[in-house]
């Protein structure tokens, strides 16, 4: 694998060309091209599409098998530059686990030491700031084993926020968060994204709709969409409607609370025998489902 100097000038971002990652004979990533700059970018895809592998490659946790990669303008394959990347990186892995006997403060303090964050007082101040950011300050001396799942998720997020990261990689960050916390999370990430690059991998499409000005869709290790959420929605226009009768087999649809059916299809005219058919404005979720063809019947 070779890496070139960053020609795009994305010193705060990511540049990948032809990124490939294999596990044995299986290709988890197949030739990903990517440029990321400041702002929030959503990463969508089915389970096993390669989202976590991509995030781990960008987070310097996995080496790419082939391709060029530059993170924050540095080469993650060179040890000194990898360490420099890690100093400015925030990474929340999927289902993070912790030392259960640690307190929330103790865990973040440990992580801050690992991130080489200053002297004790400055480090503690940063830990307090991160705990306040995720609304866990009042629980700072509670042992992690006594925190709820949502609180642990927020603690993982706080760990990712330590060190004023220029690149924030979040893998399913809103799992287990209640609606209030999700709003708070969105606010926090939006603020960070003014100066930092944020890549948000999620199945919560409403988070992408609320936060991201750009969305990437992965399918079987390939990038099948890279553009604005509105652009993805526009692709679905005229292909989403509601009707009273259950559509025939083979057409993606689901039953709504009022008993009607929401139908996604190649084109309205391709679905025969529709009764009370009403075209509706597609949501980002509709558009994503149409793109990946992953609606359960």
């Amino acid at each position: 694998m070779t890496t070139t100097a960053d020609p795009t000038g994305l010193t705060g971002g990511v540049r990948a060309r032809g990124l490939v990652r294999t596990y044995g004979t299986r290709r988890a990533l197949s030739g990903i091209d990517l440029d990321l700059g400041p702002g929030v970018t959503g990463l969508l895809g089915r389970n096993g599409a390669g989202k976590t592998t991509l995030l781990r490659c960008l987070a310097t946790d996995l080496e790419a098998t082939l391709g060029e990669l530059s993170v924050l303008g540095l080469d993650p394959e060179r040890s000194g530059e990898r360490t420099a990347i890690r100093r400015r990186l925030g990474y929340l892995p999927q289902n993070p686990s912790f030392y259960p006997h640690f307190t929330a403060f103790g865990l973040l303090d440990y992580m801050a030491v690992l991130k080489e964050r200053g002297g004790r007082r400055e480090r503690h101040e940063e830990v307090r700031r991160a705990l306040r950011g995720v609304d866990l300050y009042d629980r700072r001396h509670t042992r992690i084993r006594r925190l709820s799942g949502g609180m642990r998720q927020r603690l993982g997020l706080a760990a990712a926020l330590l060190g004023d990261p220029r690149l924030l990689l979040l893998d399913e960050p809103t799992i287990g968060l209640d609606p209030e916390q999700r709003i708070r999370f969105r606010d926090l990430v939006s603020e960070l994204a003014v100066h930092s690059t944020v890549l948000l991998s999620t199945h919560q499409i409403e988070d992408v709709a609320a936060l991201c000005r750009r969305v990437l869709v992965l399918d079987q290790g390939r990038m099948i969409f890279d553009g604005a959420p509105a652009e993805l929605v526009a692709r679905a226009r005229g292909r989403v409607w509601e009707q009273g009768a259950r559509p025939p087999a083979g057409v993606t649809s689901w039953r709504l609370a009022d008993g009607r059916y929401r139908v996604l299809g190649p084109a309205e005219s391709d679905v025969p025998d529709a009764v009370d058919r009403v075209p509706v404005e597609p949501s980002l979720e509709d558009a994503y489902l149409l793109l990946t063809g992953s609606v359960p019947r």
């Binding site: 987070a59 310097t60 946790d61 040890s79 360490t83 890690r86 100093r87 990186l89 990474y91 892995p93 993070p96 686990s97 912790f98 030392y99 259960p100 006997h101 640690f102 307190t103 403060f105 103790g106 865990l107 303090d109 440990y110 992580m111 030491v113 690992l114 991130k115 080489e116 004790r120 007082r121 503690h124 101040e125 307090r128 700072r140 001396h141 993982g156 760990a159």
Partner: protein, 266 residues
């Protein structure tokens, strides 16, 4: 209060230029006089700094006994924190190590081939500790820690030291209690092979999960032992003979050089 500090007295007190008598007198007066306290110039930066220091003293978590001990031994606060946070498995390993050493030591005293069993178990104990000290699956917070600047060889080496310190001490004590051991040299007969195996494990850890690397090296050691035990005319204790020790020392020097090189380039 019938009198108040002059502007000059207040200024000299606040800037620490007053003589001792004046400063003590001013301080005693300020304790009781709100009027003069209000006139005392406020240094916002100093106040903020002092408050942050005070908050940190009140609010910071109490260090664990191990952290305090490591601090007393002169380790930096951050390093002590990293060592004290070594996975819970590490504590389980310490307990297992004591049990294995005690059991094999008793067998060495009680059964005819017990000495052989002890001699071949002891070098593997530090290896087992190192193999379980770092990596995905053995460290609960590894997924968070693995992308920090400390992750990789630096943290691995630190944890290796944390494992080796108690392991080498306990193995030396147990060896000194062996029936056939009379001198200090005889009590560390296992040291060079043990360290060579640990270094080999650290090198293999570049390509394999550390616990797998430990398993490979430990398996190789068992195979070597079995070969010497089964070969006609061969004595397994030849693996600890002076000639073999020279071989172990050479292997250790080479492997340690590779580990050091890897540390420099990693």
């Amino acid at each position: 209060m019938s009198w108040h500090l002059t502007h000059d007295q207040l200024h000299r007190y606040a800037t620490h230029t007053a003589d001792d008598v004046t400063a003590m007198s001013a301080e005693a007066h300020l304790t009781h006089c709100t009027h003069c306290r209000d006139r005392l110039p406020t240094d916002e930066a100093w106040l903020e700094h002092s408050w942050a220091n005070l908050l940190d003293v009140v609010d910071r978590p109490r260090p664990s006994p191990l952290e305090r001990l490591l601090g007393t031994l002169g380790l930096r606060e951050g390093t002590a924190k990293l060592l004290a946070a070594t996975p819970a498995l590490y504590r389980a390993w310490l307990v297992a190590m004591v049990i294995v050493l005690a059991t094999t030591l008793i067998l060495a005293h009680e059964i005819p081939r017990g000495t052989l069993l002890f001699s071949f178990t002891v070098p593997v104990i530090p290896l087992a500790g190192v193999a379980l000290a770092y990596g995905r699956g053995v460290d609960p917070a590894h997924s968070l820690a693995s992308v920090t600047p400390w992750a990789g060889p630096r943290l691995l080496l630190l944890r290796t030291c944390a494992v080796l310190a108690p392991a080498l001490t306990l193995c030396t004590v147990a060896s000194a209690l062996m029936p056939s051991v009379a001198t200090a040299y005889e009590a560390v007969f296992w040291l060079l092979p043990a360290l060579a195996m640990v270094a080999g494990c650290l090198i293999l850890g570049r390509w394999l999960h550390l616990s797998v690397a430990g398993g490979v090296i430990g398996g190789g050691w068992l195979l070597l032992m079995a070969m010497f035990a089964l070969m006609e005319g061969a004595d397994p204790f030849q693996l600890f003979s002076p000639l073999a020790q020279a071989g172990w020392a050479t292997a250790l020097a080479l492997l340690a050089a590779i580990v050091a090189l890897r540390m420099r380039t990693a």
